[in-house]
Symmetry: C2
Subunit: 410 residues, 2 copies
């Protein structure tokens, strides 16, 4: 008998009918003898409905009250799912974040979990109940309701699994698991049966939007075995594991992530003195614009070009900021290219395999794709290229690195 | 500077626009220097929306989970109202029932308040904030969410006023206050400037649906000055006071209540032995059918007729039950009249004034209205009559007892 924490997102519980289907699925685990703690999100659409009411009142709603408002979304789901379980004869008990209790810091709208008291959940499990917990929410030390920010239900599930020392934390989504790359781009993208936490972190942050990155970090830190699988189809999903697959035939590359809709900004002719990188990036970041790849290359003439990418939708704002920065820094010019994309190879195997980068560059060269930026980390190589070549690049790399379903696998 | 507890019902907070109007109203009290605690209901329609989702799952939803579900309704309102106050520059802080905390018994769906801890509210008032509390809900000793049943927000407001020793508890509704009778039936029905708790109890239970009866009981018990007034129009409303108006010219009768859509059931020829009343009423009541007037008259032949009234919509079910009871009791027959109504004169002055009953009967006799049942209490006389004469009876009594606006008043 295993203790399993399951998390179902907003799409999985988006209607009474879907909630009933989730109850059926949970019932099958109970029948098999497992103890189940379920973490749920708000029904899809509910968070937007609540947010738009708040914004009718004020553009930037009071953070404390926004959390009071939004936390009702999950509270509705826990009640309805508990009823659906009871209807099927499975004793159930719902808990809000405060009832658990999930103690967070005081930062409303993006609180971080400090501690989870497992005793209330354990007491109900001991009574043979399915425990249904509201994701995304907690309380601070003074009993104020807090929320973890969008997608925080994944983090709730992992944190509860860690607190309870659960055997597995299962994240149910609308995809079957983690693929070598986006199946909508590459037909024979392969479902990975397992992947390491580090690889998952790189893939998640690079655009495979399966799991919230904080949840993966959390799971890695507390060594919680994490599995991503589909709410709607049966299947083993992808296990995110602590250990590297030691099989010698293990593919070096786990997957290929990519990001569309990026823009590249270059501040050219920046004086080569300490602190300029901060003076360029600092104001952009302070304006709440997320900066992705950053590269800097000192030129021979004692000036620097600092280049970085942002989401295309934020590029004009970033440009305005940089134009002011350019003046005060005495830099030469600001150049923007709004049509770039990023492709990344990810894999822990890269550490020990030379030549991955070379092979990647050759593949792109063979396709006559010009590389604008290269950045690397221990387990990742990213290139920024003209956006129109993005899919071609992904397909070519996927095939050359033999990641597809039709390829021989370990 | 007074401490005022205000309660706004579902209609008063039925949309974002109406919530903004409530915030304006509260702001005027703040500007006048009063400390304000606001108790709110769920936005109108919300409770029904939540209930219907639950009933899609099960006809009789798990009581504990129903409370988890329904309590989100008020939680949404407290957040939105607090935002609307903040927008206007009035510092505000919302509290759920659990956050206050409002301790109740463990009976889900119709919990009773045991104790209210005023310290969290006081702390926020001391910071100069408007405190916005979710009505209708509390927590039991184990931290489970409970609800007080429909209309329970009135009770929350009164209980908080009692706990805080507030100067006044104001219940905002969609009527201007308590009238001598229903203004839709009698054109010159007069708004009462004050009424005693006892009178209000009789009027409320008899169909003047202004205030939840439990709230009135509570206010009487804890001596909370209670005022009923309109959310939408300015005006002093009706004060429900502890003391009888001692003015010698005080009208003897406070008002006339009436109830349509009743049905009368008589079990005729019941043996005149101890316990038969219970054997007749017990099964009806056990079936959840609310019984109103009950009269019994022993006949000379050693049998009894036991008559009572129920809501017309429940009369057929009551009849079925009684048909079985008749058999087992050996009673003669069950007679049902589905078209009756009840008219009641209410007034504490009745105690000391003889002749009210006689005058009432004469008025009805003058209008050729046959009285089917008479029941009396200390401050009330009720008659059951054929329903078609109900409005005629109310108008005639209202006029004869000089309750109208056009009548001379004290």
């Amino acid at each position: 008998m295993a203790l399993i924490v399951q998390k179902y997102g907003g799409t999985s519980v988006g209607s009474v009918e879907k909630i009933e289907a989730v109850a059926d699925k949970i019932g099958r685990f109970r029948d098999a003898g497992d103890d189940i703690v379920v973490v749920v999100s708000a029904m899809s659409g509910e968070t937007n409905r609540l947010t738009s009411m708040a914004q009718e009142i004020m553009a930037y709603p009071t953070p404390r009250e926004m959390d009071v408002l939004l936390s009702t979304g999950e509270q509705v789901t826990i009640a309805l799912l508990s009823m659906a379980l009871e209807k099927r004869g499975y004793a159930a008990c719902s808990f809000t974040g405060g009832q658990v209790k999930i103690l967070t810091c005081e930062t409303h709208n993006k609180a971080r979990i400090r501690e989870i008291d497992g005793s209330n959940i354990h007491a109900q499990l001991d009574l043979g109940k399915v425990v249904v917990v509201a994701g995304f929410q907690g309380v601070d030390e003074n009993g104020n309701i807090t929320t973890l920010g969008r997608g925080g239900s994944d983090t709730t599930a992992v944190a509860i699994a860690a607190a309870l020392k659960a055997d597995e934390c299962q994240i149910y989504t609308d995809v079957k698991g983690v693929y070598t790359t986006d199946p909508r781009v590459v037909d024979d993208a392969r479902l990975l049966s397992s992947i390491t936490f580090e690889e998952m972190l790189e893939l998640a942050s690079l655009g495979t939007k399966v799991l919230q990155i904080r949840a993966v970090e959390f799971a890695g830190k507390y060594k919680v075995p994490l599995r991503v699988l589909s709410s709607f189809e049966d299947g083993p999903g992808t296990l995110i594991s602590l250990e590297e697959n030691t099989d010698m035939e293990d593919p070096t590359i786990a997957g290929i992530a990519f990001e569309r809709d990026e823009a590249k900004l270059t501040v050219a002719g920046v004086p080569d003195v300490p602190g300029v990188a901060y003076e360029v990036i600092g104001p952009v970041s302070a304006a709440g614009i997320e900066v992705d790849v950053i590269v800097q290359n000192a030129a021979a003439d004692g000036t620097n070009d600092i280049t970085f990418t942002v989401k295309r939708s934020e590029s004009e704002r970033a440009k305005e900021i940089l134009d002011k920065v350019r003046e005060s820094l005495g830099a030469r010019e600001v150049v923007m290219d709004k049509k770039v994309g990023k492709v990344s190879l990810v894999g822990v195997g890269m550490r020990s395999h030379a030549g991955i980068a070379a092979k990647m560059f050759k593949v792109l060269s063979d396709e006559s794709i010009n590389i604008q930026i290269i950045t690397t980390s221990e387990i990742k190589i990213s290139v920024v290229i003209e956006e129109k070549y993005l899919e071609l690049a992904v397909r070519a790399l996927h095939s050359e690195f033999e990641l597809g379903e039709s390829e021989p696998q370990s």
